[in-house]
Amino acid sequence: MSTLTQPKLPTSERFSQLFGKYIYIAVGIIIVILLIGRIIFVARQESYPLSYWTFQVINGLVLGGVYALVALGYTLVYGILFMINFAHGEVLMMGGFAGFFALQYMTSIGWANGTALQSTLTIVFMMLAGMIVSVITGIVLERLAYRPLRGAPRLVPLISAIGASFFLQYTALLVFGAVPHNYRKPSVIDGVWKLGDSGIIISYTGAFIFITSILMLLGLFIIVQRTKMGKAMRAVAEDKHIAALMGIDVNKVIVFTFALGSALAGAGGVMLGLHNTVIRFNTGFLPGLKAFTAAVLGGIGNVLGAMIGSLLLGLLEALGPSALGLPTEYKDVIAFSVLVLVLIFRPSGIVGEVLSEKKA
């Protein structure tokens, strides 16, 4: 048996084998070193004041909160159906429009800028309108575009989703017109806190968005972890057939999942409207992609991962361009590069199980 201890593999093959195994790690390390080098280089050259960085951090957290709401829709649906709901961004956009019209109405009766209570109720009404319309959109989408395709090869529902996305986007363009609709903030969240002389500014809207999204995420967490429906959802995600045998109505669970994801997206749409102060027919597309990125970053199919991934992506987007000394237009490039890098080096995401590589 002593012969076995002597490696006899041809050198070239051994090399290629080693190469294949370690190239990912090597390239990863090189990229990290380059990035750190660039950040240090930039930091020594130009220095932004502390208030600028705090502003960006807050901005990033707010954006991350909105992404999280949307990312959860992707993650929930992916967890259960293993499909990317490409039209999820459009569900968000529909919610945004509903919120806008609700705001229009409340403004016209004077509540949006009325007393603090009236103004608060305006926001509640907007959120509800956005969520309801998004839920309807999501359920109809599932019923018409996805359910007939369950069990088909994966390319098929993806194409259907792409079609649905185009359909919804351009329907919105035709029905609501191409002009951007301006959100005027209700008076209660219109304004800023100034923290002493430090120059740090926190907008009421930002605080509202961040806190509300965290609360909604907590609510979702409770639904998924504690309720009977949540348990059913997790069971269906694990194995549809077995779940059905256990007496779970799989269709009902799937519809509920879509409704849940869409409700969050609707809320996200309204918040995005308040954040950007404007909404258009294509408002949903980019945030949709970004939220998907965030979901992947955290580990798709994983609820906690989506939240962490979203906050991280929001921060990366807000801080990345300045830290790397690039103009802010590069924030989208950074977001997509993050997506690509994560999928290459850690396809299971930050929190995801390693198994998902095989599943994918």
Partner: protein, 264 residues
């Protein structure tokens, strides 16, 4: 006789689970050997280690005097090991003939630009490949069924196409993962004869994983028993049949009486 395949202390873990534990064995060139063991004993994992689908954490695998444990699956195939699968894995939407042609992939030498130009070497090679595929089809008694989609073939025929596809790569060692699973007694007997003929005629070494004890005892020259990833016994069929450790491994799990076990 020389050993064609040798393994030394092969260990494969999945997280905390040790699927194959410090497993050493060897098989002789031109022999028919079997690996048996209860479900989950690590038999298929061991196959996957040999073919390079998994890389074992520890240990060495030597084939025809060369170490192969670090090679990719396709490189292992090129060296002369092919396998079939427990649950038949044909390319369902390709015809039987196309399946066999894919099996021949590693033996086709022409480069793609030759295919684009359509030079003589390419045309000759394609013609020979097709003739050989037809021959293999005939060899597994499926003459005339070459244009059938793999998934439309009856179960037994699918098994045989899978074997033909494996043979197409001109292996020196053929790994069969439960070849008689789902077959009735007569079909199993036919397949057993077929495997024996195959070895006698072409000298291919065969290693089986099998649950059907009648097949195992009838065909194997050497049997290795795995339990919890470790070797618990090895020897000729007679020796295995009477080995108390083997009987315990099976009966200890509350399985059926005797040594007759149906496929998982």
């Amino acid at each position: 006789m020389a050993a064609i395949l040798r393994t030394l202390n092969v260990t494969k873990r999945f997280g905390g689970l040790v699927a194959v534990d410090d497993f050493s064995f060897e098989i002789e060139e031109g022999s028919i050997s079997s690996i048996i063991g209860p479900n989950g004993a690590g038999k298929t994992t061991f196959f996957n280690c040999i073919t390079g689908f998994y890389t074992p954490e520890e240990g060495l695998i030597e084939f025809k005097g060369k170490q192969i444990q670090a090679l990719r699956t396709d490189q292992v195939t090129k060296m002369g090991i092919t396998r079939t699968y427990q649950n038949i894995r044909l390319f369902a939407n390709m015809t039987a003939l196309e399946n066999i042609l894919v099996g021949m992939h590693s033996r086709l030498k022409t480069w793609w630009p030759e295919a684009v130009i359509g030079n003589k070497r390419f045309r000759d090679e394609e013609k020979n490949a097709l003739a050989k595929a037809q021959e293999l089809l005939e060899f597994v008694n499926l003459k005339g069924l070459g244009d059938q989609l793999a998934r439309n073939l009856p179960y037994g025929a699918q098994r045989r196409v899978e074997i033909a596809r494996a043979l197409a790569s001109e292996p020196d060692l053929l790994l069969l993962d439960e070849p008689t699973a789902g077959m009735n007694t007569q079909e199993s007997a036919e397949l057993t004869d077929f495997i024996r003929n195959l070895r006698d005629e072409s000298g291919i070494t065969v290693l089986l994983i099998e649950h059907d004890m009648r097949v195992v005892m009838g065909i194997s020259e050497k049997i290795t028993v795995l339990d919890y990833g470790s070797k618990i016994a090895e020897g000729k069929p007679k020796e295995i049949q009477n080995n108390p450790k083997v009987i315990e491994a099976y009966l200890g799990r509350g399985a059926a009486s005797g040594l007759e076990f149906s496929a998982a």
